[in-house]
Amino acid sequence: MTRRGVLVPIVLVVGIIALAYASLAIGSFDAAPSNVLAALQGGDDRFTVVRLRLPRMVLAVLVGACLGIAGTIFQTLLSNPLASPDLIGVSQGASAAAVGAILLGGLSGAAVSLLAFTGAVAVALLITLLSWRHGISSYRFVLIGIGIAFVVQAFLGYLLTRADVRDAQAALVWLVGSIGTPRWDEIAVTALLAALLVVALVSLAPKLRMLQLGDDTATGLGVAVTRSRILLTLVAVGFAAVAVAVAGPVLFVAFVAGPIAKRVTRSSGAALVVSALVGCVVVLAADFLGQRAIADVRVPVGVVTSLVGAPYLLWMLARDNRSRGSL
């Protein structure tokens, strides 16, 4: 472990705590610093701080961590920085299934989340089947995924045009990625699912590191390549789906977290923990800005992440074109 490897997570955790604290304290009603801690223990500003702001902040942290991990797994597994769930159709699959459930089935709550997960898995399965040729080929997987993202997007558009205006409005708010004020049972389910996925990931992480060396070398080192790839894909899809199910497709978080983590740690490995922390920082900061940057205007978190993420994508493409000639 390098010094950077220890320092970076500490700095990120401090940043998360600072942002979390700011999210609780600052808003249309500012709680005095001392009152925030008092409120958490049942003091004066309890309603604003604990009822309205705390669940939102906790969910932002969870969503950020899940998206950060999902993105890094995909990007590492497919050795392609474009292979993020929000670019290869996995998030869109979750969205389409969830929106379909809201608009066509009139469902809500856990049923929507379950369908979102099913939609994400279905898209991942479809990409796998279409790109399969003696195993999973990374390049084909990404290209086919990007294609499928558009197809699913078209289907989503169709659903929205067919829907009642008020239903469509509700679906749209969800579709741009918004955190709102979640109920504690929603947060508990999200946290539980994320925890289960983390348990699954712990034993898969070393395999992911070996797969970075290419399938041949990984096989030579004793990794069951196809099985590991499928399991890792499922876990990554799971993380993405958990986040999307509860907050909608908060775009570009999964996409930027991994590369930022890699850059700050200067490591080659899939910096899973650091990516999760970067994801937390991005979502917390984006939600904080969206809620408070412009007085009396509330911008959904997904709009902010897209505003920041899209230029990053352009910058990355431009930089890679200059330095390496291709992605």
């Binding site: 590191r209 060396l213 041949d216 096989t219 030579g220």
Partner: protein, 265 residues
């Protein structure tokens, strides 16, 4: 060092409809250096990849110590057979030490925790390949020869009794080709590691092999000590090339001097 018996029995391997190896038999001599040669597309890489369980035969079986490779758990097999593929991939920004340490994967627990044995094996591998000075360097900054030594170091850290290498000297200039092959001989002499490799250069193959396997069109056309195997007749049969075979003035091993339309003996 334990003795091993790695063999292919009536192995048939194909891609889609095309059959590449046709019921091939091979017994790898334990503790020796075996070199597989043959013209392009003769199936030599396919044979090596089948021995390394990267390809599964459609008929026949590759066995280690009497048991089919597919019967072994992956990590267990990876403590006996190591592999250096033709074009291994180094992740962006990886350091030499990190890469070599990954060779320890089959000997690590479920969560990849590192032990003293891992640290020792990695240092030994770095020293054996003369890459200890490069430990903290990034792999992408290294020259081709250094990079190949680092990959061999990773395979050494795996501490296997058998090491399979697919064209380990490709893309290297002649100096580094010799350097890499000498390193493998040293490894074979010192640790008794069984080495099987595919080489393109017939003369280097004849010089470095204890056991030579000449392939053509998915079959073994000749097999044995280089002095017996490398003859003008075998070269004609496998490569469809007229040649003169003389003794290598340096090593005494057979040396193939090719002829062509404008140069004949």
């Amino acid at each position: 060092m334990t003795t091993h018996e790695l063999r292919a029995d009536a192995v048939t391997v194909g891609f889609d409809e095309r059959e590449v190896l046709h019921g091939l038999d091979l017994s790898v001599p334990d503790g020796r250096i075996t070199v597989i040669v043959g013209p392009n597309a003769c199936g030599k890489s396919t044979l090596l990849r089948t021995l390394a369980r990267l390809l599964r035969p459609s008929a026949g079986e590759v066995t280690l110590d009497g048991m089919p490779l597919r019967g072994y758990p992956g990590k267990k097999l990876a403590t006996s057979i190591g592999l250096l593929p033709q074009q291994p991939i180094a992740p962006d920004g990886i350091t030499v030490e990190d890469l070599v340490t990954r060779g320890r994967y089959p000997r690590q627990g479920l969560f990849g925790q590192r032990t003293i044995a891992d640290v020792i094996a990695v240092q030994a591998a770095l020293i054996a390949t003369d890459t200890a000075d490069l430990a903290s360097r990034r792999v992408e900054e290294l020259s081709g020869g250094q990079r190949q030594r680092v990959w061999i170091a990773m395979a050494l850290a795996q501490e296997t009794d058998i090491l399979l290498l697919d064209e380990p000297t490709t893309y290297l200039d002649v100096t580094h080709q010799i350097e890499v092959l000498d390193l493998l001989v040293e490894l074979n002499h010192r640790a008794g590691t069984t080495i099987v490799m595919v080489l393109h250069d017939l003369n280097l193959a004849a010089r470095y092999a204890d056991h030579m396997v000449v392939m053509a069109e998915g079959r073994i056309v000749a097999e044995g000590a280089p002095a017996e195997v490398v003859t003008a007749e075998t070269v004609r049969q496998a490569f469809a090339l007229e040649s003169l075979v003389v003794a290598d003035p340096v090593s005494g091993s057979p040396m193939v001097v090719p002829m062509g339309r404008f140069h004949t003996a």
